[in-house]
């Protein structure tokens, strides 16, 4: 299993798609952090609890400690899901389009082990991307926070929570990964995986917008 995992890691780490997706994912975080901080600095602090005042405070909080960690985790669990879908579909589906899956199975016929190694390698890559995002968040966020006033406060207890929070964020992405792999296997193509995974994400977001109806119809029928 370790051998298969090492082989998957070599394929993944040398593939341009991996680095392009990571670069776009991190660039989006940087753009978001810089633009929101710039807007917060431009608009200045607003008194009261108007929507604008609350939004500006939120933007400032996202580059300060410990809110910065929340912003990183939020980026992972929102946009990260879409990137996981594209990445996983690319990694699995290309094996069909290039014919490499057949060649692989002709050498190592255990399909389950191959699939497990693939999923584990993708999870490792997602974990590495989460770490990159965290480090980049600190490198970008703290100077931005300092520029607009304060970098915030950070306790040892907060520090201990970071690894667990990152693991949780990566774990939240696992269902999207598994769903995408399943669609890719069913359709035997990258396109099937991307369509299935993104389709589910859109469906999930759509269903999410219906959540306020819970108040209309009463909590009793939707659970507590």
């Amino acid at each position: 299993m370790i051998n298969l995992l090492r082989a998957e890691w070599l394929k993944m780490s040398r593939r341009p798609l991996t680095w392009i997706l990571l670069a776009i994912f991190l660039a989006l975080f940087v753009v978001q952090a810089v633009s929101q901080t710039a807007l917060a600095a431009l608009l200045g602090e607003r008194p009261g609890d108007t929507i604008l005042a609350v939004q500006i405070a939120e933007w400032r909080r996202r580059v300060m400690l410990p809110g910065l960690f929340g912003a990183v985790l939020n980026h992972l669990n929102s946009l990260g899901a879409a990137f996981v879908v594209i990445f996983a579909a690319g990694m699995m589906g290309s094996e069909y389009s290039w014919g490499t899956l057949r060649a692989q199975l002709a050498r190592h016929p255990d399909r389950t082990r191959f699939l497990l190694a693939k999923i584990m390698a993708i999870m490792l890559a997602i974990s590495a991307a989460a770490l990159f995002n965290l480090v980049l968040g600190l490198l970008i966020g703290l100077p931005l926070a300092a520029a607009i006033g304060s970098i915030g406060e950070f306790s040892f207890a907060d520090l201990l929570q970071i690894p667990l929070a990152l693991l949780r964020a990566v774990y939240v992405l696992l269902p999207y990964l598994l769903l995408t792999i399943s669609w890719t296997l069913l359709g035997r193509s990258v396109l099937a995986g991307v369509a299935g995974g993104l389709g589910y994400l859109i469906l999930e977001a759509g269903v999410g917008t219906l959540a306020p109806l819970q108040k209309v119809w009463g909590a009793g029928t939707w659970g507590s």
Binding site: N3, L4, R6, A7, L10, K11, R14, R15, P16, S94, W98, G99, T100, R102, A103, Q104, L105, A106, R107, H108, P109, D110
Partner: protein
């Protein structure tokens, strides 16, 4: 002698269509076995069943006595294969593509270097696979099949897309592998290649083995003589047909083909000359595998 490949009544059905029908093969260890057949004859499906990639509808496969697909993992440790076009990751170099395989198989990276040396691809080993010519791709495919020094090497069209020099080189490589004791199962359209290389051959048509045996025996199974008459050959035909030890007389445009013992050619000559039929030439007909292949795979139901 140990059998590298043994199949018995191997059959694959796709719905109502029979793709492979009742194939029984016996490939001796150390032999170069040619697997011939026109497109769509079922060659690749048979190879896929040998490798456990496709489950047979009936019959069984054993590689070195080990059942496929029940014990595929154990059996395939002794097998290297290149099926159809060589399949590799286009964004990796030839060397890294092989490293993916050595890592997956728990082999040292030096195995990749050794295989690249065998197929003479060291100079291009760090170029990306997508920049490789067809010939280089074929060679890398063979290198991948050789990585773990397997006892049985299955090659599907290994000289496909190669220039004549490349074809000769690959044939040389196949020969040297056989000399080192590897068993080679060679699926090819290049009939002269199979004739030059193979000890045994099976000819497949519409999923059925039409002919199987040693190349030498198959090519010499029916002794034939070519008789060229100087002038009109019509008079010679009834005369030759009357001779009991001449099994068949075939008339061609300017010569006759007789199915008869080669050592009796002098008698035929004497007989014809006695009847004032001048003989321009009598010689043994050397059947080529190509002719045999065409004869075996010809659609006999066609009008």
């Amino acid at each position: 002698m140990e059998l590298a490949i043994r199949t018995e009544q191997l059959t694959k059905r796709c719905g109502t269509r029979v793709v492979v029908n009742d194939i029984s093969l016996a490939v001796q260890s150390g032999a170069i076995f040619g697997f011939l057949g026109p497109n769509g004859a079922g060659k690749t499906t048979t190879i896929a069943m040998l490798l456990g990639l496709v489950r047979p509808s009936a019959g069984w496969v054993r590689l070195f006595g080990i059942d496929i697909p029940q014990h595929a993992t154990r059996a395939l440790q002794q097998v290297g294969a290149m099926i159809e076009a060589p399949a590799f990751y286009p964004y990796l170099s030839g060397y890294d593509n092989l490293r993916v395989m050595t890592r997956a198989g728990g082999l040292p990276d030096s195995a990749a270097n050794h295989a690249l040396t065998l197929v003479d691809l060291v100079a291009h080993s760090h170029a990306l696979f997508r920049t490789y010519s067809q010939g280089m791709r074929q060679r890398l495919g063979i290198a991948a099949a050789l990585l773990h020094n397997p006892r049985l090497i299955i090659l599907d069209e290994p000289t496909n897309g190669l220039d004549p020099a490349g074809q000769i080189e690959i044939r040389g490589l196949i020969r040297s592998l056989a000399e080192r004791g590897h068993t080679i199962f060679l699926s090819s359209h290049m009939l002269h290649e199979v004739e030059q290389l193979c000890d045994q051959v099976a000819i497949l048509k519409a999923g059925t083995v039409m002919l199987q045996g040693s190349v030498h025996e198959l090519l010499h199974r029916e002794p034939q003589l070519i008789v060229r008459i100087a002038g009109d050959q019509s008079a010679a035909i009834p005369l030759l047909q009357a001779i009991p030890w001449i099994q068949r007389v075939e008339r061609h445009a300017d010569y006759l083909v007789l199915t008869a013992p080669l050592e009796r050619s002098a008698e035929i000559n004497t007989l014809l000359v006695q009847q004032a039929i001048p003989v321009a030439e009598i010689r043994a007909r050397e059947e080529r595998l190509e002719e045999m292949f065409l004869a075996v795979t010809a659609d006999r139901d066609a009008p």
